[in-house]
């Protein structure tokens, strides 16, 4: 995009600046729209599984429900508890929201359609997603209230635990792809399965890692069955209890942006990103971004489906699953995969 603005007669610096800012807007605004629609989808899927209608009043098929909710929240009064630590109380939702958006900078939506094509893309995502816990912890502490505090403690322990296994799963993917660059990882999946299926998930060594990643993604975004941070039967609404109006909405938006991010990560790391599911020339006439969105949407549907189906975990079971099942399992697979790749001489050139 920089070249385009340069062709309009700008100097390189200005062209880069304008291109980056418009790139940020081109990602952030559709993302907010997607979050609004995805909340609607979430409620609609939940309604369908519970055999009720879901939102169906505002707009055709209730499509505008999320916007109505947004407007309502926007018009409400922001209440700051008198005992709260005001600065941190207001900073926490902003951090959650910012961090949820920042990670999208390295997500490739199509071949070459990415804001920052950096060669440590996957590490960047890991770094940014590990910041997500601060919004929760800070809000829980700053609220100066028991339930949010419990929730913050739970969130900190839960997110750290599952980040460990997510890290090892990412190592497995990187070993196969040979790069940390997101576009490189997608291109490495081209024809990976039997020469015509695009995606790492068909690899018998990577499929268990795919399952581990998906479940860890549920835990990392605190979705059911791991939504212990906002378990309404125990903690009112968890860390969001004291929040109102836009500060509450920022949490809500950040949470769903994170869920979408995890869905798109599943797509990019295991399902071949913007590539069509199989190598068949007519499928390439469909734009890559459509495939990317379809796959991401599929994973989001799985998230909603699980939310409607599975009961909540007990906290000690959650910790046991993270540390005693996923961590050893992913460690073993890191050893297995690197052993397999060494034995088959998969390592080439630079990494040898």
């Amino acid at each position: 995009m920089t070249e385009f603005f340069e062709s309009l007669g700008m100097s390189y610096e200005w062209a880069w600046f304008v291109a980056t800012v418009s790139g940020v807007l081109l990602i952030a605004l559709p993302l907010m729209l997607a979050v609004a629609m995805v909340i609607y989808v979430d409620r609609k899927v939940l309604g369908a599984i519970m055999m009720r209608r879901g939102p169906n009043v505002v707009g055709p098929f209730g499509l505008l429900q999320s916007f109505a909710d947004g407007l309502k929240v926007f018009l409400q009064e922001t209440i700051i508890p008198s005992a709260a630590n005001k600065g941190i109380f207001l900073l926490a939702p902003i951090i959650t929201f910012t961090v949820a958006l920042a990670a999208w900078a390295v997500i490739p939506f199509d071949a070459g359609v990415v804001l920052a094509d950096i060669n440590v893309g996957l590490l960047y995502i890991l770094a940014i997603s590990s910041l997500g816990v601060y919004g929760v912890v800070m809000s829980g502490w700053a609220s100066n209230s028991k339930y949010p505090f419990f929730s913050a403690m739970r969130a900190a322990a839960q997110m750290i635990s599952y980040e460990v296994s997510i890290g090892f799963v990412l190592v497995c993917v990187v070993l196969f792809a040979g790069t940390f660059n997101m576009s490189g990882i997608v291109m490495a999946q081209k024809g990976h399965g039997l020469g015509f299926i695009n995606g790492f998930f068909v690899n018998p060594l990577l499929f268990p890692m795919f399952v581990v990643f998906f479940i860890s993604a549920l835990a990392e975004t605190a979705r059911a069955p791991f939504d212990l941070t906002e378990a309404e039967s125990e903690l009112v609404a968890g860390y969001q209890t004291e929040y109102s109006s836009m500060s509450f909405a920022l949490f809500w938006l950040g949470e769903y942006a994170n869920i979408l991010l995890m869905c798109s990560l599943c797509t990019l790391l295991f399902m071949g990103g913007w590539l069509p599911p199989v190598e068949w020339a007519p499928l390439y006439y469909v734009p890559g971004i459509i495939w990317f969105m379809l796959k991401t949407f599929f994973f989001f549907f799985l998230f909603s489906w699980i939310w409607a189906t599975v009961p909540r975990y007990r906290y000690d079971q959650l910790m046991r699953l993270g540390w005693k099942v996923f961590l050893p399992m992913s460690l073993v697979f890191v050893a297995l995969i690197s052993g397999y790749l060494m034995a088959t001489g998969h390592f080439t050139g630079a990494s040898a």
Partner: protein
Amino acid sequence: MIQTLAFYLFASLVIASAVMVIMARNPVHSVLWLILAFFNAAGLMVLVGAEFIAMLLVIVYVGAVAVLFLFVVMMLNIDFAEMRAGFINNVPLGLLIALILLVELIMGVGAWSAGGIALGTPDGSAAQGLGQSNIEAVGALLYGKYVFLFEVAGIILLVAMIGAIVLTHRQRPDGARGHQDIGKQIRRRPQDATVLKNPDVGEGVEL
């Protein structure tokens, strides 16, 4: 131009937040300032082209170490009055440590300006990294040249980890409160755990 601006932005933020770490009255605020300092230090790393180190700094320090700091500091119930009372008592010790650090700094700078000594100075292998990406250069050094030191560091960490587990682990005897047999919990079926009764109207249930 923009690099210079970014450098001064990050550098001044690092210094300012480092000062705030010790100036803040609330320990939780201190930890949050420390996190801001880490984050801006990562920004400086990106500016000098060490993006891998920058990401590791954020992942390891901001994402894990600082969270645990925050966790512990939040859990502690710190009595501020008591802390201020201790301040006067600890001033001599603090001054002594500050003096030692100052002398060390002066000696270090003096030694550096006097010229380096041949004590493991890099033999041009740093130039090897040119044209490679960060990760490849770090990997080649860590798993090639310094593989022995790297593995020793790994073993030391492993020992520390096992030590921590041994110190905190306690085996609960069977049947004690809190003892869990996970296999038994998983094997439990609805038929064994629940009984369906269909009592007639006006009659009680014998369980």
